[in-house]
Symmetry: C2
Subunit: 244 residues, 2 copies
């Protein structure tokens, strides 16, 4: 029995997220089906996280156990032949039996992408959230500083999943601007339901001027979801990297 | 009667190109319908070129005549409210009565986009043609030099439209590489049917090593379509700019 680790890129536009669902068209189901077709086994694919409906990934990690004789580092080639156009396995390798895509993870990096210009852009509408009001990047960076560290992020969580604790550590937030494209990279040890999208929505409010940067501290301390910004749309979010 | 010039961006994925068709879902029809809804007039939109099915544009130019009292520079705002998500008017303005989007044009710039890496990428599959074999950019640039100038481009034309002459002038071809992304910018006074896509297909052959750069000269001189490269797929092509 081998344990195979996969790194996966997918366009989430047409999927109900990662996680298997009874009637659902999900990324997990597509990949499990592809691997089953290759190995003839029933595959139980372990994903690093449940990503929401419409969210994308360039570095999603999953693992599965198999008795197949296909070498680990060749697996991605045969799986890709069975996958739809909007999902691809970038890399595969055999890993330690103990490796678990979710529980072994020590952190993740997400990227939230914004197109900031007066007019919408059809050629960017699939992966960029369009904000027509000018965003002040310096204010956004200033506001993001208050989010760094181990904090109770209860105000940055939507209802929808049960957790024991709403304390999480954000290690880094990097905001970069290239012409009208703004990317917010958020790295942390774990994230609450919709947390990155609420962080993005809150920083957008700061960038537009609806909130002052220092208000981010009040929002965190309030532990009140209604104080934070809107949940920014799923299409702007990408899971970029998982750390182990 | 005013003459209004529009600059248009669209994602051509779901359209049968620009040009009106009896049962067709075309960009021209979508925009004519939007303008008609705004002005209450029957609109005959003049486009700068027929772009093929699946081709995109960031700087398509069109014009139309109207008796509407809406100021030229405000027109784009009201039209955009009626347009689908994959089409947008970037700018509108009143121009001279003589201006004709096609006949007044002195040239156009197209961009052909390639993703050059071993594995396909779902998040780039909409606008980049994937080439998995490594492309040698220097050879492509060398090959492109033979295409510059006034030449008979008969070998770079597919059957499908009648023309009096197959002589065209290419003013410039610029090939730029940024990590795995390669863009071929082609500027010329006019283009034959599928010409830019055949130029791209031929330069890809040169980049992969199937053809030597100097063979481009032979291909042009042969006036034989079968000597040139394949017609590269529509999805990689964008009309970037029209000159007047």
């Amino acid at each position: 029995m081998k344990n195979i680790k996969l790194i996966i890129e997918y366009d989430g536009t047409n999927y109900y997220g990662w996680q298997k669902q009874p009637d659902g068209n999900t990324v997990q189901q597509k990949i499990e089906k592809a691997i089953s077709e290759v190995t003839g086994e029933t595959i139980d694919l372990i994903g690093c996280s449940r990503t929401d409906s419409g969210v994308h990934a360039t570095g999603y990690v999953a693992n599965f156990y198999t008795n197949s004789t296909i070498p680990g580092e060749k697996f991605y080639i045969v799986i890709n032949q069975k996958l739809p156009k909007d999902i691809v396995v970038i890399k595969s390798e055999e890993v330690d039996k103990e490796f678990h895509a979710r529980f072994s993870s020590t952190g993740k990096m997400y990227c939230y992408s914004i197109l900031n210009q007066p007019i919408r852009s059809p050629l960017n509408s699939r992966y960029y959230h369009h904000i027509y009001k000018p965003l002040n990047i310096d204010l956004m960076i200033e506001g993001s500083k208050y989010m760094i560290g181990e904090k109770d992020f209860k105000a940055f969580q939507n209802n929808g999943s049960e957790v024991n604790s709403t304390v999480r550590t954000i290690n880094d937030i990097k905001i970069v601007k290239d012409e009208n494209y703004i990317k917010i990279y958020v790295t942390g040890d774990g994230f609450l339901y919709n947390m990155v999208r609420i962080i993005a929505g809150t920083l957008i409010d700061v960038g537009v001027g609806y909130k002052k940067p220092e208000q981010v501290l009040d929002i965190i301390e309030s532990k009140d979801r209604s104080k934070a910004g809107k949940t920014a749309p799923a299409l702007g979010l990408k899971l970029v990297k998982v750390f182990y």
